[in-house]
Symmetry: C2
Subunit: 322 residues, 2 copies
DNA sequence: ATGAAAGCGCTAACAG
DNA sequence: CTGTTAGCGCTTTCAT
């Protein structure tokens, strides 16, 4: 494999000149630049990125941490983030944390070892000291704490939209699947939903996921169990995947949707548009979250101060389940 | 940030000794090892991976190329591959190729620039010369050509299972969504299915996707269009996502499933278990494909000769659509 | 068993 | 505008 020295020799110049010519840095006469480009092409020169990385102390890798790469929400988010990072010239390293303990901390350690230039985290911070990394970290749909900029959906609006959809449909008793975490921004949708429903005299049965698995099979099991135990309700509010679990359990029990039971999902992932009827749900703007998250990371990478948190609007998708 | 020199100085030894102690290479007296470990801990020493990479000419990164990270099949496959790579101590770089031209070639160029140690490709080879990379490449569910080991599902069996499911259900006229590519291994399921159905005198209407988008919205549109145009059929064979598209179109048109129309999906992604009724389908063994793909990559990385192609068994999932 | 020193291949400061 | 050279931080001979 030809190195920069070979190119320099062939072009009859020094290595510094080759470096400048190929990177477009510094002054180069048009003539020598041409000679160098020719030599590089002739030798099929591929610069060794490892040497470049060490010398610049920069890899152009951004790490993306997610609980589960298979979950429709995170899979979509990853797709858009990867695309957006590519636009800025960054490469995308992924890390899925749900299966294995300490994965978050290990990934952060890799950041400290200069493996990546920054991390976009869609998982909770593993601990307090994780906040003192000294390198760019952006959290998306999670709250890491002081100094870590955050990008998230307008869950206050989301909770309101869901509540209004069920209220307008005349629901009087609803099942509400909420979830927990380290004070994540999406918690807001649950409090807003709860409050609005109760203000209107609607009974709310709360189900709180014991762990935030982001796991299909787990969601199927838990939603099925609770749905079958509460077939008397006339409304459900749950994440997309959970909403499908409820729908399946209800249909299996012979309950007609939306006549006897209204269901509102949350997230608006692609799967909500896959069935007939489509799922009525609150849609997060996945491309918007991805763009804002990456944009924030790029800002940090350019050495600018931590930008303000960004809130991305949500919208209501009218399906056939309400 | 403390470097290896700092550790050496603090432990009162040379840098070479520190390197050997921390990497467990070469002989080290128990005493000096302890001194070194203490010094490293005291300084919170994090080795700079960039320097290590350059020196070893190895990054422990494996690139994974997929058409679309959002598609349920690829999202699941990625999840399992990432987990498996982690088990072997490798990190996972992703590249989604469907949105942007030349992405495959660029990714391969990165391999040539030593950014990664190898590539697992779930996309077609961009061109002939892509085969002469001189670094480990494994293709999963795709055919790259001579010298590139391949891991794929037993699609001959898969095509047979699908055909038998519809034949046993008494179908006489079926809609078959096939797809194209550069002679991919999964093509086999289509030829086997077609042949078996015709052998039994069943009429098969073929629909061939113009491009292999692996895209929800595209699949929804195309399947809807063809399904509505062929409401007279009594059976459908299509990929999972396409099968849901057909199901939605049929239900919308008031056709009862499975009474008037039987549907068999292909892939067995998580979404097939999400609805009621669940989708009857042929399941690929995603964890098995991932394990075999990664295992093959590791073999290559260890300098062993190209192993034989691996064929992973499939199974039939009995849902409620047949 | 350990220290000294020569790379790894590129970038960037410096001198001309 | 261009060549020379000193790093970047670690691994790995090669003596000792």
């Amino acid at each position: 494999m030809a190195g920069i020295k070979d190119v320099a020799r062939r072009a009859g110049v020094g290595v510094g000149t080759v470096s400048r010519a190929l990177n477009g840095s510094g002054y180069i006469s048009e003539e020598t630049r041409k000679k160098i480009l020719e030599a590089a092409k002739a030798l099929d020169y591929q610069p060794n990125e490892l040497a470049k990385n060490l010398s610049r102390n920069k890899t152009d890798f951004i790490g993306i941490m997610m609980p589960n790469l298979e979950h429709p929400f995170f899979a979509s988010l990853l797709k858009y983030m990867e695309l957006e990072l590519y636009r800025y010239g960054y490469k995308c390293m992924v890390c899925s944390t749900d299966q294995i303990d300490h994965r978050e901390q290990e990934f952060i350690d890799m950041l400290k070892r200069n493996v990546m230039d920054g991390i976009i985290a869609c998982v909770d911070a593993p601990n307090e000291e994780a906040l003192e990394i000294g390198r760019p970290v952006v959290s998306v749909e999670r709250r890491w704490g002081e100094g870590i900029p955050m990008v998230y959906s307008d869950h206050e609006m989301g909770g309101r939209m869901a509540a209004e959809a069920l209220l307008n449909a005349g629901c009087r008793k609803v099942l509400h699947f909420s979830s927990q975490g380290k004070n994540p921004p999406f918690e807001k949708r649950h409090t807003v939903f709860r409050t609005l429903m109760r203000e209107h005299g609607v009974e709310v049965i709360e189900v709180e996921g014991e762990w935030n698995h982001m796991d299909y099979a787990y969601d199927r099991e838990i939603t099925r169990r609770y749905m079958l135990r509460h077939l008397e309700v006339d409304g459900v509010f749950a994440s997309d995947v959970q909403a499908f679990g409820c729908m399946a359990a209800a249909l299996e029990a012979g309950i007609r949707i939306p006549e006897k039971l209204k269901i509102v999902g949350y997230d608006g992932t692609e799967i909500t548009r896959m069935t007939y009827p489509a799922l009525t749900c609150v849609c997060q703007d996945l491309p918007g979250l991805a763009k804002a998250g990456v944009q924030t990371m790029v800002t940090l990478l350019e050495g600018e101060p931590s930008p303000a948190d960004q809130v991305i609007p949500v919208s209501l998708q009218t399906g056939g389940t309400v």
